[in-house]
């Protein structure tokens, strides 16, 4: 509709024209400070690490296929679950969300780039090299075998003699610096660079959640960095922070790690709440129900989730008062989360629902996140947690939240914005295959883990005896993993093949309402020829319906 605004749109688009040689293309990508290119690189990095982390997961599932198997040695198994967790949290989850945010947020708020474009590029490269540094631990003869939360004193030299832990800690420190710079950039961009008229109560909901995610990153990641520095000082300089033989405290590490670790869960879910809150209204043809309540709930989650970390530590033996405090605080989080859930349902209620792939993944998100939330409430109750702590029930629970919640929601976002990024539609047929294989495979993988956990199977064991009645549940889980695996391959194939052969998308394929859809697909480097002026939460609705604009009712 507004292509005339930017005639050179396609020439400047972040996809290099064919015929340009590889070296100069590489130079363009490695030196870019365009938020769109940086965003794309974040997402591609995350997809590569997703495949690596997925291979690690499948290897573990094969080892657990039946009792007394030894396809993989115990030590390698320990390395696999350490790297699988680390990879998925730090090099898939955060980069993919930050990447999507990078691409979309400036477009959504009518800005031409992030507040600090060079810092933005730095953040990406630092995150990428943090990931490479972490994997460089393999060069020491094996990855660290400490679990992704690296409980002390396992990280002390006494128990981890090779330099693997040092590379792991360094990698996470470096990646953490990248994450913090990205968060600073989001805060500055969202607070200072909105288009005229887009007051904070009119910003697109995804932008609002990226703001609070960034606040959480700023509070939660530096303590992890500090704790990792202590690990390195213990190992390299002979300090004693977590060296229990010399008075150090293993408990301190747990507090510091989970002070990061719990908000991390919300860092990984809040942006997804935002994406879903963009997609559900568009595909239900209604405005988001209860925008103000949703906004307040996001804020509430961001604050409350800073005070719940010790629910990961009930089994350590804190006092009854402390346990009670953290039970209550953890249960409190379910209130704003529940508000959001009902608001999404209310948005869909009575709407004209269109089950295109983005909405299909939202449906996956809603159904699965609900279950993951409920098992979370169960685990927040200390007595229940005493019984099932460090069991497969916990593994089932958090995968349910991270895949059922974060991953389904992220896929919804990628299917929603891919046409904007590439100018082409993803294949709906492949997307449906991907969705159903993932949906079914996911259920078959992780539902049995809950049962195995209740039957007493501890997490992180590399093998088990035949008489424990765990075998059938493990076999189901392995079958589920093998059903899931092709869905990721279909996803990657769809990304690549649609880029060449997909249907031409046009500027606004979903008939949506936020500013990114006013630009060409892909948008020009400068995003907007004229900076738009905004009067309501759905500026593009106002443009499309000048006779009945939204600002009359807000």
């Amino acid at each position: 509709m507004s292509l005339a605004d930017h005639p050179s749109a396609h020439a400047d688009a972040p996809t290099s024209p064919a015929g340009v040689d590889l070296a100069s293309r590489l130079r363009v990508w490695t030196t870019t400070v365009d938020h769109k290119r940086v965003g794309i690189m974040y997402v591609l990095m995350a997809v590569v690490f997703l495949v690596i982390g997925g291979v690690e997961a499948v290897a573990m599932r094969i080892q657990l296929w039946s009792s007394d198997l030894e396809v993989i040695s115990p030590d390698v198994f320990n390395q696999l679950f350490t790297m699988h967790g680390t990879t998925m949290v730090f090099f898939v989850g955060m980069p993919i969300l930050i990447g999507i945010g990078n691409y979309v947020v400036p477009l959504m708020i009518g800005a031409r780039d992030m507040a600090f474009p060079r810092l933005n590029a730095l953040g990406f490269w630092v995150t990428l090299f943090g990931g490479l540094l972490t994997y460089f631990s393999l060069a020491t003869g094996g990855a660290p075998a400490i679990g992704w939360f690296a409980y002390a004193p396992l990280t002390e030299t006494t128990f981890a003699r090779s330099a693997a832990v040092d590379f792991w800690a360094l990698g996470l420190i470096v990646a953490g610096i990248g994450t913090v710079t990205a968060a600073m950039n989001f805060v500055a961009t969202i607070l200072a660079m909105r288009a005229p008229g887009m007051t904070l109560n009119k910003i697109p909901f995804f932008t609002w959640t990226m703001l609070w995610t960034s606040v959480q990153i700023l509070i939660a990641v530096p303590p992890l960095t500090a704790a990792l520095v202590m690990v390195l000082f213990d190992r390299e300089l002979g300090a004693h922070f977590f060296d229990v033989q010399n008075g150090g405290s293993a408990l301190l590490w747990q507090h510091l790690f989970w002070f990061f670790g719990h908000p991390e869960v919300y860092i990984l879910i809040l942006p997804v709440f935002g994406m879903v809150s963009e997609i559900i209204p568009v595909f239900s043809r209604k405005v988001l129900f209860g925008y103000e309540f949703m906004a307040a709930a996001t804020m509430a989650i961001a604050f409350i989730s800073l005070g719940v970390w010790a629910h990961h530590m009930f089994a350590v033996g804190l006092s009854r008062q402390v346990d009670l405090f953290f039970i209550v605080a953890s249960l409190l989080v379910s209130i704003p989360t529940g508000i959001k859930f009902f608001n999404w349902l209310a948005t869909m209620f009575g709407g004209r629902i269109w089950f295109a792939s983005p909405m299909l993944f939202c449906f996956g998100f809603l159904s699965m996140f609900l279950i993951g939330g409920l098992t979370g409430i169960m685990l927040a109750l200390a007595p229940f947690d005493f019984q099932l702590t460090d069991s497969y029930f916990v593994v089932g629970h958090f995968h349910w939240v991270l895949i059922g919640g974060t991953l389904f929601g992220t896929f919804a976002g990628i299917h929603y914005w891919y046409p904007k990024v590439t100018g082409r539609m993803l294949s709906e047929r492949l997307a449906h295959w991907q969705f159903w294989l993932l949906y079914i495979g996911f259920f078959v993988t992780f539902a049995p883990m809950h049962v195995a956990g209740m039957l007493g199977m501890p997490r992180r064991i590399f093998s088990y005896e035949p008489d424990r009645a765990w075998e059938i549940w493990n076999q189901l889980a392995t079958i589920g993993a093998l059903i899931q695996a092709p869905s990721y391959l279909i996803f990657v194939y769809n990304l690549v093949s649609s880029y060449r052969h997909g249907k031409i998308a046009g500027d606004d394929p979903w008939d949506a309402w936020t500013l990114e859809w006013t630009t060409s697909s892909p948008p020009p480097t400068y995003n907007f020829g004229t900076i738009p002026t905004v009067h309501s939460r759905r500026p593009l609705w106002d443009t499309k319906h000048p006779d009945d604009p939204d600002w009359q009712y807000e």
Partner: protein, 209 residues
């Protein structure tokens, strides 16, 4: 409101029959640099809080070796007053810069740098005494581990501030500071005030408690 009319033109239709949106009131907020610096400092608060927590939790859990009793309060008071003074001088500097008095800016800016370096020298002197005379190293005991880490990271931040201020001083000696450099100077002064506040906390926790 030219922009606004352009925006509506795309949809066509005579503008007179359509509802006309209210005027947009300009928003008063900090600019991007200020929000960026504030969020950076916010993350630094989280970082230093963690080191303070580690110090408070662990500094008494020593099996052997010197404890916080070996610290010299008078020396710490002296270095503290240097750093506090530098907060005033950096304020005077940016105030002068805001009023275009470049010579005065350069003077107070240089004084601030000198005070920062003097503070670092004081810390170096303190550490020398602790290591050589009291045998307190980072690996000696938990007091050593937590003390050197907390004070060391603070000193690292002071050093970073000194380097940033030296760069700006160099620029201001070469030519008058433009808009971008002035903003830079102002942001560095925010950072410097922050480093000062952190020191007050560190001083209270380590030397007064």
């Amino acid at each position: 409101m030219n922009q606004q009319n352009d925006y509506y033109q795309t949809s066509g239709g005579p503008a007179t029959t359509l509802p006309v949106p209210p005027d947009i009131a300009p928003e008063h907020t900090l600019n991007g640099h200020e929000w960026g610096m504030l969020s950076f400092l916010f993350s630094e608060v989280a970082f230093f809080s963690t080191l303070v927590v580690a110090y408070v939790t662990l500094h008494n859990d020593n099996l052997s070796g010197p404890t916080s009793e070996v610290l010299s309060l008078p020396l710490a008071v002296a270095t503290t007053s240097l750093l506090l003074a530098s907060s005033f001088t950096v304020h005077l500097a940016t105030h002068a810069l805001g009023h275009g008095r470049n010579a005065i800016f350069k003077l107070w800016w240089a004084v601030t740098i000198t005070l920062g370096i003097a503070f670092l020298a004081g810390t170096a002197y303190e550490w020398y005494g602790l290591v050589v005379h009291d045998g307190l190293t980072i690996s000696r005991n938990l007091f050593g581990s937590t003390f050197y880490t907390l004070v060391g990271f603070h000193a690292l931040h002071v050093s970073g501030g000194v380097v940033a201020m030296l760069i700006i001083l160099g620029l201001s000696l070469a030519k008058a500071l433009g808009q971008a450099e002035s903003t830079g100077a102002r942001m560095v002064s925010w950072y410097w005030h922050f480093v000062d506040v952190v020191w007050i906390v560190v001083f209270t926790v380590i030397y007064l408690a």
